[in-house]
Symmetry: C2
Subunit: 247 residues, 2 copies
């Protein structure tokens, strides 16, 4: 049996950093998802293992809280492990260590495993004779808050976009990470220079597709906190909700 | 002295593929640029080596021609080498090999090395006692056409975007690769499903910045060929020109 915690070593490539010379949150988000799949696949419960059963993991929530982001050319490591298994969801956590081995941030995610055809969730506790539970590691520290409940009251959207080629993943949906990019794109460089992002939470509610028009409603709670709700323009149904804490 | 050709092994990560399950061209483009910097830095002429001299490499042209794109979870390798050194430009080529070791595509790029302050190009032939020339490797095959001259006649833009946070790199410019994403975003999934991209050329003419409105003018030469010119909305000055060949 492999260790419960999986570790991946990565580099902040020159073309993965933003205007401030730090790793883009969207690139880190992609790394977290890729580390998730690597960790799970190596232990028998990755998407690669379930292709025959027509099952797929669906990301329900993601929280990333960083004290500092890796800078360009710096190496860093991502640890990931399963914190807990519920019947329909599993919590998976992350720790990010910088080149000096110091933990510089943590992440939390919640996933469901669903049938590709019927989109119904699988019982994770009993799945494959409790395989997933064998790897739970609740003792591993992840000292950041669980995601909060987000409620946005803004009456008008701050921005609208149409989902296009770059947004779409293999399932025909807008890629989970692209929402993070689109939400950060609501802010000016001047604002982000003064207020680096500290924590980003996202809860995925429903899928969106190529050609969908998405409205971004924003509540600016105070100078360094805001909440964003992304809705389908056509029927105002909620696609995802985010909470951002800046420094 | 290190070998003239540098090789990097990469994987098509699950979250780096597009709707068709193939590596996104923009991700491949980022890989090519990162391989460039790794190759150059290891041999003493990367951006990392020139920081003290306040010099930076600037990408002038990029061509990528792929017979097939790596698919999700496939490993692939990128070779890169310097083809030729001119006084103000250097040509660098790429070959992409799939998991079975077959070459599945090539790339060509042209770079200048400029002063960060005065933006003037450095003489590459004499630079560092001809260091760059020691690594030229004109005999290495790169059997794809050099870039063509692009001339777009469309009278109206097909799309306009405003450059935002995700577009901007450390120099405050729109990132070279983001133009590729924006250009591919002109096409529908239906079109791209029928006509996978075969070749993409881009020539960079001038920089654009946060907040700039960019107009995309498109000539659809025929069913599988088109040319795109990106212009500043404010004064219609050209930012870059592209040529796309689909299958």
């Amino acid at each position: 049996m492999l260790p419960k915690v999986g570790t991946t070593r990565l580099c902040c490539e020159p073309f993965h950093s933003d205007f401030s010379n730090h790793l883009k949150l969207s690139v880190l988000g992609n790394h977290l998802l890729n580390c998730t799949e690597q960790h799970a696949a190596a232990r028998g419960f990755g998407m690669a293992n379930f292709n025959g059963e027509s099952l797929t993991w669906v990301l329900s929530r993601l929280v990333v809280e960083m004290e500092s982001m890796p800078q360009r050319d710096e190496w860093f490591e991502i640890d990931t492990w399963v914190e807990k298994v519920y019947r329909l969801f599993t919590d998976r956590n992350y720790a990010v260590r910088n080149q000096q081995g110091q933990v510089v941030g943590y992440g939390r995610s919640t996933w469901a495993l669903i049938g590709m055809e019927d989109r119904k969730p699988i019982d994770l506790v009993s799945m494959h004779d409790g395989l997933l539970q064998q790897y739970t590691c609740p003792e591993q520290p992840c000292p950041i808050d669980k995601p909060a409940r987000v409620k946005v009251t803004a009456a008008e959207p701050e921005r609208s976009i149409t989902a296009i080629y770059s947004d779409i993943d293999i399932n025909g949906h807008v890629n989970s990470i692209r929402y993070i990019e689109h939400v950060l794109d609501l802010f000016s460089l001047d604002y982000l220079r003064e207020h680096p992002l500290h924590r980003f939470e996202i809860a995925y509610v429903s899928e969106s597709y190529f050609g969908d028009v998405l409205d971004f409603y924003v509540d600016h709670t105070d100078a360094t906190h805001c909440q964003v709700e992304v809705r389908q323009h056509k029927d105002q149904s909620v696609v995802c909700r985010c909470k951002l804490d800046f420094k």
